[in-house]
Symmetry: C2
Subunit: 298 residues, 2 copies
């Protein structure tokens, strides 16, 4: 059994921490929100501050929002990496640029610490069930050190390369598609409404036709039910599609569909919907076209 | 057993005609390409010109490219509808504007002929197997008259309304999604190449992740194999996304993602790829970014 710390107890990180703890490992959960840490301790998490436990850790999973937060956890004031024993591993799970992953790997190596480029996919429910997909890349030693954490949290581990970078590259590709598919689902559902297609009928028919997507099947029911409880929020997409377009631009790659989808999520955030479920991008289309979505009839 | 004529023996129409003939109906196949008619007759199709057989027909399936060809078959010089007996039915299978479907229904009614708004989805292989999805709308009498043809050709018939229009509306929604998903797959696959993601690895990983779509799973392998044999051609999309944007504009509905995807297919056609498989839209991205797609290494 290993000693594992998770930094970031949001919807994904909490599920990851719970899965690791359930697998029998001694598990610490850290977050800027004290209530989340208290909740995790009350459900079996171990006690102690990062500095108190750092030397005993075998693995650290960093499940924060972005590259800046990842770097702060790893190398900021009281950053964890310089405090780890040699041979420990950091799994970096946020969506970050591949070049950032390569830099973090090199900085960890200078401390004798392994780094696994390990972005995650699957959503909060799969995180809680220990059934994530992980797009992983790193040295064989990094994979070996991370194995207990991967076994406890993932249904599928894609081994994409023997140094950091390819995991984050594949995650960026996945986010391009996922973000565009959500916005396109919203565009199609509301376009259908202008042609007399009821949203519930849209889901029933299109999910069985060539126009379907994983995101359509997952998110369109939120619109039909008028339920925008954030499982994954609008604010994720300006961040993740922004990363995609940044690294695309650096490669002189023109991604016009992604660029337009990003604008729709920015418009949703501009309407004050950043904290709602990402299916709320449909409200941008509905407002532009004067449509009334389910749940907004009053 | 019924007497059925199919107008249009392209990939979809030929499969529909073969499925109807296989079900035991007397089946005529007509096309502007004489070789296609000869081929169908050699495989069991009945002999005779449209005018010779019109009065004996129970059902006509019109499986041509667009609204103009549909109208020409139905009401042009030697159009079939005025020659049909009262109570016969026309199944209109092309992607057309809903308003066009309503007009055709009314003009058929003036001749005592039923009209089924019956766009199809599923591709050439499912057409040949008699396992299409049909997005159908029309009067109960139209559905009843069309039943032998629907039974022979469809795995799933969505009954979307009791007058013409809703079938074509749902088809437009499906085409919006399908077209955007093809172009987005191409954008993501080529973007991935700039980040070191191999196209075959793209298919292996993304098809199991949240970024997947029906079209990605169906079309991305064509790019990996470098095989652009047209199962569904680039030229379909300027037509179908054009219909979507026309009727969206009439409804004052802004569809920015669809508009951009259309431009990518127009660019593919402008590169001379109109007759290739629609996955060839990836070549627009590859040329812009200086990438070499599989099969183009020489």
């Amino acid at each position: 059994m290993s000693n594992v710390a998770i930094f970031g107890l949001g919807a994904m990180g909490y599920g990851i921490a719970a899965s690791i703890q359930r697998a029998g490992h001694t598990t610490w959960g850290f977050d800027v929100v004290a209530a989340q840490m208290d909740r995790f301790r009350s459900e079996g998490g171990a006690a102690g501050t990062p500095t108190e436990v750092a030397a005993s850790l075998d693995a650290v999973a960093v499940v924060v929002l972005n590259a800046a937060q990842t770097e702060a956890v790893m190398f900021g004031d009281e950053g964890i990496v310089p405090q780890l024993r040699k041979g420990a591993v950091v799994l970096a799970c946020a969506t970050v640029p591949p070049e950032f992953a390569r830099q973090m790997e090199a900085r960890c190596a200078a401390h004798g610490v392994h780094y696994l480029d390990a972005p995650i996919s699957g959503g909060a429910a799969k995180a809680a069930a220990g059934k994530l997909s992980i797009m992983a890349a790193g040295t064989p030693d990094a994979f070996a050190a991370a194995k207990p954490v991967l076994d406890a949290t993932a249904e599928t581990v894609f081994a994409l390369g023997d140094e950091a970078g390819p995991g984050s590259a594949m995650k960026a590709v996945n986010q391009l598609l996922a973000g565009v598919h959500i916005a396109t689902m919203a565009e199609a559902l509301t376009f259908g409404m202008t042609q007399g297609v009821d949203p519930a009928q849209f889901v029933d028919v299109i999910s069985k036709c060539a126009g379907s997507s994983w995101m359509l099947e997952n998110r369109a029911p939120h619109i039909v039910e008028g339920d925008y409880t954030p499982l994954s929020s609008v604010n994720i997409w300006p961040k993740d599609l922004g990363i995609v377009l940044d690294i695309a631009k650096q490669a002189s790659f023109s991604a016009p569909i992604t660029a337009v989808a990003l604008q729709q999520f920015i418009a949703a955030a501009g309407m004050g919907l950043g904290g709602e479920d990402d299916a709320a991008v449909a409200k941008v289309y509905a407002r532009n076209a004067g449509l009334t979505l389910p749940g907004d009839e009053d």
